[in-house]
């Protein structure tokens, strides 16, 4: 059952990911990407990371993709305006990423060597809010706090860059 679900979700994820790449219209890409995100969220659920799944959907589908759509609309890009790369380049791109896939998959060996001792009895609460919260606010307190600096920096930067300047002052 779970395996079948995995296959299904994987199929959806891969298919829609491919559609992200191959859609001519950026808006479609965004929509396909959202589907991919949902599929990934499904995987999270499969792995008992429910809280993460929820956050994932909220952040990615809810925030990030909306931002994308907003920018696309702002810049009025919802047309198939993209000039084509030559076929050779496209072919090369496909070959390259295919090779990358082959190499990655080929070299992702040796999972049997993982420290599997405690596994098998995966606690269902591990991915829960309580557990994660505890880890996040004890062990990972500093990164959590410092992430605020990251966001602040991003915010300041975005404001600085995106704000339309009135006068030339450079």
């Amino acid at each position: 059952m779970i395996t079948n679900l995995f296959y299904f979700l994987s199929f959806v994820a891969v298919l829609s990911a491919l559609m992200v790449v191959f859609s001519r219209n950026p808006v479609y890409s965004v929509l396909y990407l959202i589907i991919t995100f949902f599929a990934i969220a499904g995987h999270y659920v499969l792995m008992q990371a429910e809280f993460l799944a929820v956050v994932h959907v909220i952040v990615y589908a809810g925030a990030i993709m909306v931002l994308f759509l907003y920018v696309i609309m702002l810049l009025n890009l919802n047309r198939e305006s993209e000039p084509h790369k030559s076929n050779i380049l496209k072919f090369a791109a496909a070959i390259c990423s295919g090779l990358l896939l082959v190499v990655l998959v080929g070299s992702l060996r040796g999972t049997e060597l993982l420290k599997h001792s405690e596994a098998g009895e995966v606690s269902s609460t591990m991915g829960g809010v309580k557990n994660l919260g505890k880890v996040l606010f004890t062990d990972f307190l500093f990164p959590f706090e410092i992430a605020s600096v990251l966001l602040l920096a991003a915010m300041v930067g975005v404001v600085m860059l995106a704000k339309a300047e009135k006068k030339t002052n450079l």
Partner: protein, 640 residues
Amino acid sequence: MVNINVLITLIPLLPLLGFLIIALNVHKISHKKSSYLACGTILFSFILSITVFTHLLSLPADQRVLSITLVSWIQTSGFSADIAFLIDPLSSIMLLIITGVGFLIHVYSIGYMHDDAGYSRFFSYLNLFVFFMLLLVMGANYLLMFVGWEGVGLCSYLLIGFWFKNHDYNKAANKAFIMNRIGDLGLLLGVILIFINFGSIDYQTVFTNPSEVEVTTLTWITVLLFIGAMGKSAQIPLYTWLPDAMAGPTPVSALIHAATMVTAGVYMVARNNVLYALSPFTLQLILITGLATALFAATIALVQNDIKKVLAYSTVSQLGLMFVALGLGAFSSGIFHMATHAFFKALLFLGAGSVIHALRGEQDIRKMGGLKKLLPVTYITFFVAVLAISGIPPFAGFFSKDEILAHAFAYNPFVWGVALIASLLTVFYMFRLFYLTFYGTARDEKQTMDHIHDAPKSMAIPLIVLAVLSITGGFMNTPEVLLGSSWLQKFLSPVFASASGIEIHHLSHTTEYVLMALVVALTLVVIGIVYVQYVKKGHVPAGEGRLTGIQKVLYHKYYIDEFYDIIIVKPLFWISKTGDTIVEALAIDGIVNSMGRLVTGSSNVLRKLQTGSIGFYIFIMVIGIIMILTLTTLTGVAGQ
């Protein structure tokens, strides 16, 4: 009594002093002062030489060696060379000739150079020359001799190019210096070889035990030394500079290129008689070279029209004769001929100078003639000299030449024959020169002839003194057959005693008489022919264009200069030019530069990789990642 060592030291120092004083004030000093200073120092040296000579005579024959060390010169790491003088019979004779003839020529120069702009400079050079020449003969070791050797070369260079505004003269000077340098290299290498084998370069050390060194090595040493002599004494193949050296003022030709410097080679070989005696091969070489040179130069002299050129080739030829003597092992005969030759050849040159002076620089004998009356002193003295060089008894040349011929005959009649031919040729061209110059009709422009006057006193006196010497000089070594005592030979015998290894052939008195008579008779015949040809028939040599056959070849000196030009000078310049424009520019520097170009070129290619396109950058990045992963997986570096 002044210490003899001081006197010896003063001999070379005085000319040096004269040189320094004149040279440092060359623009301030008056002509008069400089000439007095120059002549005075030489005269004083001459007097000192006589003193030293008499001192030497006063000593027993086997102790006639004075050696003094002044200061150490180069002293390092087992090598040492001092500034030290060696006075023995050989060098004392040389001293007398150098300072004596030198003094006369100095005096002569007062008149000859009187209106020249470089008057003081000329005298300073002359003094310097005498200094170096004295150093050459007095030096007690090879290196000091080499100093003099090179020094006289320098002075020769300076004096040949004395009239520096004429590029041909300068070229002649360069030629002389460079040709001499070829010889000098040989000499230097010989000296080094001596040092390597004997561990010293002092004459006395070297001559003590020469037989300890292998014969092959000795042969090398002597051949190398002889190469030096070839250069300095103008032997085949290094003789071509000497005729060109006539570009210098005539007193220079007389002093340097006839009487003294060119005989340095003879002196040097004689000085090393000990070594030469042990290497028969070299003696053979010297003999052959000398013979060839004597004959060869004489033939060229037959057709030359420049009065000084004739004399120059004559000098070469006579030097050849001296080397024949040396090659035969008859060292004292060589020295004897050298001495007499110094007298009469200097006289010839000075006489020629007097003629040239009178004719305001004209040197072509075809334009002379009829000077007998106009220049009586010159005429008479010149005639004496011509007789001397032709070997008419009892003039000096007769004795010295005869001695050599006698030795040659004793050694091998063929050698004698060649030497005889050479000396008969000498007679021919000397009388040709003499007749063309002084007899017949005056062929120069009338204007010149009108203002002609004989040598002034300062020029005449040296001429006369030399003429006297040319007449009497031969008596210092009158052979026993002619009831003489062979004084010179005996005087020099301590020097050459150790060379007794060579068998000197002796002829019976009868044979000697016959030979003498034969030679004199032949000489007279030749004179007769010349007289008929040039005085009776009034023949004047044709211009260059009309010469044919052998005459043309002779007139062009067998095209030797052209030959050297083709095989040495041209290739050298070609190599130089090719080296500079092709080897250096394209190959050696080319490699260096092409490395630079490789870098800049590849820079220009590589920077095109930076296309500015993000897509391309990412492509490369991904390819890089794939490569890294693939390589690591394949090579198994990251394997378990």
